[in-house]
């Protein structure tokens, strides 16, 4: 490895970023030749490619991947994205190592020879692309609150991390059909819009949503205790005021004590006792991003378009929790569930199925 190499490992920076990871070092020279070669038969081939949405990308494309940090789910998304690329696609990967400034530098350097498409994984990568690659089609993913950062930009589109409230509510109905009253805590500054959307969606499904606002995590205790007697199910949103390292355990335990099931967004919470959750898988996000990038590169769609909801959320159910709450998910629901948990977590402990002292 050259000492001045950049990109994948993000170890050093030069004035001009030197692409490190090339699938085909001679791809740029092949590009011109291939275009000339296929000028006689372009329509048929393009038609065929266009009819097969999952077919590999346009041959010879150059794609840059900006990765906010070297974390597992980012890597999973990148890997899944790369799997959708054609073998002759030139892919260059850059690791921002959690540093926005570095990301902007990388983006600036890419301007000299802009790629055909940029995949921005994570918030910092998306912001770097937004700020410094204004003309390059960009797809972002794994950004929690893109709207808070004015994402997507005109040249950008992306895959959202939140499943739409309507889909979530539908899942709640499927898992717990008897549930009528749903409660949630939220910070209006963070998820106010989401709650409004959820309330509307719930009304359509004949469900009532009781939303209690919290300004900071210390309000959770009182707020939750006041909410729990009034609801049949607690809906835990991806609200950064409600969901903290400190409050999670408290929320789970309190709801278990009150025998109020929790519907969340995380498989970890389900494992720890929540009834169910609609979860997203980083690999699915990556593949979805790859498909979107494919269509952009084909020119079939523009990069300036609304972000997409995750197309393949997974249903996670804790069977022990269901049993604890007196529920019996139907066989159809169980077939729909991708992740099934049972026995581990707070439920077993409170039930005494496992003694405190092993």
């Amino acid at each position: 490895m050259q000492s001045l190499d950049v990109g994948f490992h993000g170890d050093a920076m030069t004035g001009r970023a030197t692409p490190l990871h090339r699938i085909d070092p001679a791809a740029s020279s092949k590009r011109a030749a291939s275009r000339h070669r296929f000028i006689v038969l372009p329509l048929l081939v393009l038609l065929l490619v266009a009819l097969v949405p999952t077919s590999p990308l346009v041959h010879g494309a150059e794609v840059a991947i900006l990765k906010s940090a070297d974390v597992t789910y980012y890597n999973q998304a990148v890997q899944a994205f790369r799997a959708t690329l054609s073998p002759d696609t030139t892919v260059t990967e850059y690791n921002l190592a959690g540093n926005l400034a570095r990301g902007r530098e990388i983006a600036t350097s890419l301007r000299g020879g802009p790629p055909d498409l940029v995949l921005a994984v994570g918030l910092k990568a998306a912001l770097a692309a937004k700020l410094d690659l204004v003309d390059t089609p960009t797809v972002f993913c794994l950004v929690l609150n893109p709207e808070s950062h004015n994402l997507p930009a005109p040249n950008m589109t992306g895959i959202l991390m939140r499943v739409s409230p309507a889909v979530q509510l539908a899942s709640i109905r499927a898992v717990a059909p008897h549930i009528k009253r749903i409660g949630l805590l939220y910070d209006p500054d963070r998820t106010g819009a989401l709650v409004d959307e959820a309330t509307r969606a719930a009304r359509k499904l004949g469900l009532s949503v009781t939303a209690v606002t919290v300004g900071n995590s210390s309000d959770i205790d009182h707020a939750l205790r006041s909410l729990l007697p009034k609801i049949d199910l607690f809906w835990l949103l991806q609200d950064q005021t409600v969901v903290t390292q400190d409050s999670l355990d408290f929320i789970l335990r309190t709801t278990l004590e009150w025998k109020v099931p929790v519907f969340g967004f995380s498989p970890t919470l389900v494992q720890q006792g929540a009834l169910a959750a609609l979860v997203i898988d980083a690999r699915d996000i990556g593949r979805q991003a790859g498909t979107l990038a494919h269509t952009i590169l084909q020119g079939r769609v523009s990069s300036h378009r609304p972000s997409q909801d995750p197309l393949h959320p997974q249903l996670a159910i804790n069977l022990a929790s269901a049993e604890y709450f007196g529920m019996s998910p139907t066989r159809d629901v169980l077939r729909l569930a991708t992740l099934l948990y049972g026995g581990l977590g707070a439920v077993a402990q409170i039930e005494g199925a496992m003694p405190l002292v092993p």
Binding site: L142, N145, M161, D221, Q238, Q245, D249, R253, S266, V279
Partner: protein
Amino acid sequence: MTARTPSASTSFRMTLWTKLVVFTTLIVLATCSTQGWFFLQEQAALVTGGLINNGTFLAQHLAVSNRYSILVNDSVRIRERIAGVLTIEHVAYVIVRSADGQLLIADGKEGWGKLFADKRGADLLSSLAVPPPVSDAPDNPTVRSVLIENGALRFVESSSSLLDRLLGLALTSSRLQPWYFDIAVPVLSPSAAYDDDPALSLTLREAPAPIAQEKVPSSARYGTVHVGLSDAHTLNLLRTSIRQALLLTGLTIAIGLVGVLYLARRISAPIRSLTATASRLEGGDFSVRATPASSDEIGDLARTFNDMVHSLQNHERDLQELNRTLEARVEERTEELHRTNRRLEESNHLKTALVANASHELRTPLTAMTVHLSNMLNGISGPLTPSQEETLRRVCENTDRLRRMIDDLLDLSRLQGHRLAFKPVPIRLDEIIQDVLFTFHQYRTQKHLSVHADFPGSLDCVWGDADKLRQVFANLIHNAMKFAPAGGTIRLTAEQSGSAVVTVSVADSGCGIPAGEFDKIFLPFYRFPTGTETPGSGLGLTIVKELVELHGGAVRLESTVGQGSRFFVDLPLAAQSHPEAPADALQ
């Protein structure tokens, strides 16, 4: 039978049986004791470790489950959970502190609850006010031993292992004062890794201000949870283990000892039996046999011993047979020797008699011949021609020579037959020598020989027969003159050695005699070959030797080839040999 060699140490003797029993028992004891000790150590360590692990788990569980309650100071919730933990048997107390060390909740059972609730509770808790140096790693709790003495807490800084109390457990049956293990675990904010859960991870970590570094999962400390564990129950378990271990060890030692005794007996008994059998064998009892009691090496030893005894028995029998036949053969050979000896003696006697008779019978006609020859030479029988005279003279010489030979034979036979008269008296040797020299004067003159005689005047008399001594010195002087060359020298000396012996030597200047001939020169009829024809019978020196020995003396010879010979005759002095001889006879 040889005497048994006493052993080096007779005061104390350790038998094989004793050695086997003692050393094997020591080994068994050492092994069982060591194993038992290590077992107890391990049990104590396991029990202690288990107790601490349980306490650690409880403390960690409390820390995790009360994390938020501690953070928001929800004492009600905390107390509820503590009450649940205190239902566990060996949990004595639970203490929860805030991040700054302030006591939030303290509850316990038995004496601890009272201590906490008592007036002295403040003092008691103040002693716990200084928090121990709890590590920030929940997996690495801080463990200390705590005692209650006179209502006050005392932290014991010694090892937290129950092994320190092992002896007390083993030796006493009374209830020991329990110790308490204080296990302190920090209450930390949870880690927000969730690497496999992007939704939760990003919800927790994604900072609203992206310029700043994203929130690193903080490990803020919210407080400390102390769980106090009593070792009372554990001590009982350990006491039971110790007693069981001691019982098992004792049983093993007892069984081992029985085994050792049996084995020692099995080994030593056959050896003792073999020793007794060997002792009887040593006493000459070849009928004894060892009894092989086993098919191992000791049995092999017994069988080999029996084979050895059988072989010894056969050898003994052969020796006895050989001894018996040897004695018979010796007797037979001795008898045969006696018979041979008798025959030889008879032959000798017959020979001596024959010689004497023959000599006597021969002398008679020879004397007659000599007379007649003398008469004829004297002209008695008539005149003789010169040639006749010459012839008769030669005949006379030969008859004289024959007569001398016969005389010598006769003398020798008488000597050997002990029939020679021997009349010893004190004799002056110089007179004898003088007589002999006079006798050979003419012969000496003919050969122009010089005779030197050196006889001191103070020479004492010797005890001897004059005639015999005269014959001795006649033979020696005649031989000296005979073998000396013409013009040679004969030397005669006499020397007295003290008051016992006189030694007379006769030396000539002849051709000498080789040393290898010294023993033969005195044999009868032996004549040393000089290369020239010398007259003589070969009996002269034999007669000299017989006669000198008859006198109680000895004759010796010294000779050098080419220079001459010297004969020494040692004769006893008269005063020494016969002190009762008259004094005038010795003058």
